[in-house]
Symmetry: C2
Subunit: 182 residues, 2 copies
């Protein structure tokens, strides 16, 4: 079944309505499909990277971190925001080192995800990191991360048994398994 | 490897710093792990549902919709925000009808995802909908959706070939395939 292109909303005007440390909110006034103006609140976010980092023994690195959003500790793959001027491949290497201490010498692009297309510009590039050598962690002093590791089958089973709800983590593991990477 | 529990950040204070039609932003002042106060901006969102709706002929329903966030048309599974007082199962049935016109008579819970745990409270419950009967669409007059449909193998291949970046859609398809649902 072929579809016509959906209507493209032209911007009439836009302005920043909130600016915080992690993201800004921009309100767009757009021309909507019925000819009336409509408003879209968009979270501006510079994107980032998520890493499936696989040790030489096959174990996959993960972090357990308290998330204020859910008010609980969440198990996640290492991930982080892109710094200005950085490629997401550079983000992947930097954030992996900061969060886990491991330096990745073999970094392979896997896929890209848009976590919340309804309201957020965030895009995450997912990488598979191998050839890891141990070093020192270096994370934000107001954050606390516990480093953990799982075998690929164990990680995959946790996803299928609804033990992992973090979208980037579940998606990365399912995608990597479907592609035969883990 | 067993991990200690990561540090839980107690709330010292919080206030709404932005209120829009789709979400609010609440700024929390928290007690961080180093004893200093830290601030966390959290997007408050009531959650919603995403649906893998499978017709009797095996085709899976999807929608193509312009998204201001990415300034392009995005292919997605039908989805929507939970209305107050609604269960996400009710959201799934209502949104499927509104966006595609189909009424689902068999609705099975698949899994739950948290799209952006770093800054958003959003949680999406994913359902598999079968026993579909055709009816009328009923969506927001400022929105434009094109209904499309794909066979399960074709949909799965689009995910694996990086044609689908929308996280809920890619994750739902990968998860359903891994579970043998599609």
């Amino acid at each position: 079944m072929e579809a016509e292109m959906a209507f493209i909303e032209k911007t009439i005007d836009s302005s920043i309505v909130y600016e915080g440390p992690i993201f800004k909110i921009r309100k767009y006034k757009v021309e909507s499909v019925n000819g009336e103006p409509a408003y879209r609140d968009i979270l501006e976010h510079g994107g980032g990277a998520t890493m499936i980092a696989i040790k030489d023994d096959g174990k996959i690195l993960a972090v357990r971190q308290y998330r204020k959003t859910l008010d609980r500790v969440v198990l996640e793959l290492p991930a982080g925001k892109r710094d200005p001027g950085e490629t997401t491949r550079e983000t992947a290497v930097r954030e992996l080192r900061e969060e886990t201490g491991y330096l990745a010498h073999d970094v392979e692009y896997l896929t890209t995800i848009d976590p919340s297309v309804g309201y957020s510009q965030e895009m995450l590039d997912i990488y598979v990191c191998r050839g890891l050598t141990e070093g020192e962690t270096d994370f934000d002093s107001t954050e606390d991360l516990d480093l953990v590791e799982y075998g690929a089958d164990e990680f995959y089973d946790m996803v299928l048994n609804n033990k992992i709800q973090d979208a980037k983590t579940a998606l990365a593991i399912l995608f990597a398994r479907a592609k035969g990477e883990i």
